[in-house]
Symmetry: C2
Subunit: 244 residues, 2 copies
């Protein structure tokens, strides 16, 4: 074990791309880093994130959840690990491994706080599947990857429901899909797919609304948020040619 004095120490961190939908657009939460002389990204916008703390976090996902709670004052209904970034150029002091996550939250549930080492937190709209601003570290890459992952998961799961509250109507869910995918979808097919996938259960109640028919309120069946939504593909559930 030749331990070189010049070697950096390893550190573990979590970054998290927190998404919500407001004003008819997908938004992502960014924080402004405090002004500090020894920080190469001083004053820049970045994803919320923080170092792993052994006394608080078992898994690195716990770090992401802890940071998210600190920034938003709420628990995210959906957090998923995205990709792990490790690179000696990331930080001058340590060899930092950053585990990127993404989360989906209903806009109403959030009360923004600037977290530790940051001076401001705000929702920034996602346009053309990216964020214009130049961010600290390699956060632009994480953001782009997170957006891509969310859009891709939408194609085959119903996770977008987590951007709404516990209960939501099918037209609301459809609108979220249209916003994120950036195209109009057919409500007939959308509703039929939801029925066939059997992911929603009715609350029996209807939304409040003005001047038109009220939509029925639904919630996810247990575990159905990640179930296959549009299961068409190579292997069909109905396939009769199974081997032994």
């Amino acid at each position: 074990m030749s331990k070189n004095k010049s070697q950096k120490e390893y550190r573990l961190a979590a970054d998290i791309a927190i998404f919500t939908v407001k004003d008819q657009a997908l938004h992502i939460l960014l924080v402004k880093r405090a002004e500090r002389d020894d920080d190469p990204f001083s004053g820049m916008w970045a994803l919320p994130g923080g170092f792993h703390r052994m006394e608080l976090d078992d898994d690195i996902k716990d770090t992401a959840i802890r940071v998210l709670k600190a920034e938003t004052g709420a628990d995210a209904p959906y957090v998923e690990q995205l990709y792990t970034f490790s690179n000696k150029k990331r930080d001058p002091r340590f060899y930092v491994t950053s585990v990127g996550h993404f989360a989906l939250m209903p806009y109403q549930s959030v009360r923004l706080n600037a977290g530790h080492g940051t001076t401001e937190a705000k929702w920034v709209p996602v346009r053309n599947n990216t964020v214009k601003r130049k961010l600290a570290f390699d956060h632009n890459i994480i953001v782009d990857m997170a957006i891509e992952r969310v859009r891709s998961k939408l194609q085959y799961t119903a996770i977008a429901g987590h951007l709404l509250g516990e209960e939501f109507t099918r037209p609301q869910l459809l609108e979220v899909y249209e916003i994120i995918l950036g195209c109009k979808l057919d409500k007939t097919h959308f509703n039929r797919s939801l029925v066939r996938a059997d992911v929603l259960e009715s609350t029996g109640r209807k939304e409040e609304s003005k001047g038109h028919k009220r939509a029925e309120l639904f919630r996810f069946k247990d575990g159905a948020d990640t179930a296959l939504f549009f299961p068409r593909g190579l292997v069909r559930a109905s396939s009769k040619k199974d081997e032994g």
Copy 2:
């Protein structure tokens, strides 16, 4: 910054689930750990893996590729990051973050070597989408996740071609799909899907074979191995209802 003496140091490691197809079955490469008194998993079978080394590896993927090369004597045509496991119970000495990877290799390209700290390396068949043996660390979880990821990616990409050589026939590719998915697939539909997805280009040559029509040899078009293979889903490329 209160630095507790009792805190472990952080370490970064890569583990890699290396798959191949031989004898009509999916196989995974396992290594036997050396017998050592201070190793809680002494003598157990495990995934190939190793610690990140700052002087050799920039990204953690470099660690995975380095380990893979040492074990197999070859470069894998396909390596992908899978999931990152971090847990204080993983190792008594350090807080180890292990970045799990998976790789696909043609069987013929591999010459197995027992790597550093291991006494044996061998291919073990995957049965019922898992590996029976009890493995060191949390490697059974990594293995199951890797198998699941490979099967799932097969549904919408053509990456299974990397289990064959540079050039392969469509019947060979079909067989790999049938082996991994565990069911018979229709060759008509399979071929038509390959054509529609436009992922293969002909070499103009045919395979050698005995007593029957020879199949045409294909290779991937550039980047087509990860292109969408069965693109049917919510949003079609042909959709004409795009928004502004």
